[in-house]
Symmetry: C2
Amino acid sequence: MLQHSAGPSSTGLAPVTTDDLGSAELLFKALASERRLQILAWLKDPVANFPPQQHGDPTKHGACNLFIVEKLGVSQPAASRHLKVLVDAGLVIPTRRKGWTYYRRNEDALSALADVVGSI
Amino acid sequence: MLQHSAGPSSTGLAPVTTDDLGSAELLFKALASERRLQILAWLKDPVANFPPQQHGDPTKHGACNLFIVEKLGVSQPAASRHLKVLVDAGLVIPTRRKGWTYYRRNEDALSALADVVGSI
DNA sequence: TAGTTAGATAACATTCTTGCTATGTTGCAG
DNA sequence: CTGCAACATAGCAAGAATGTTATCTAACTA
């Protein structure tokens, strides 16, 4: 079971109720940032968008935090907080392995977004 | 910040390019507020959600500003600014008639949201 | 013309967001 | 154990968001 920080639920999937304005707001807030949208776009294809990783499978666990930091062009803590926003919204899944942390898209949550938008 | 100044277009339809992170950010910012989501939800059915209007056709032009202000429970200027954010994002269309202003959903723009979300 | 009403704008305070630097914390290497 | 690398957290400053009250403008009405 993939478990991490203080996500809204222990399943890693955002508990989206299509008529719950509060959780919809949380999702939209996470998306309301060009940097975070950029991260999500990059994570669509980690292999193409990031340097080759020696240590983790990009297609399986996602891109290494370091690469995201570097490509974002902001300080490491700033990037870290952006990633936390995405993780807290359930849109991205972190994996800690050895000394590194990998991030990948949560395609289930991203698909569920369509329902949320459809309910607006 | 991006350019936008006047309303995105005189047609009332947002110029959404699905791969433009900037305009997607603008849309999500507009949606990243429980109050504004609430307004959009109410405007789905103006007749059901607002008192009867003597002066404008709710189904045609939307709900009167006054009713939205009152139902939101915030001051008139605060509600006015929320509505402006929605209008600027192209999600809501204002109609000025006589002394009143009516607001209705821009269903075209709201439908286009699905594409934006699908492109994330 | 004067008064009233709808609604936008101005000015301001408070809170949230986002950037930074500095410092913890954790795990691997020597 | 000691040092280093990866990354999270703390603390702070600047800008944006959101609320307020006060004011301005436009249109209707007496």
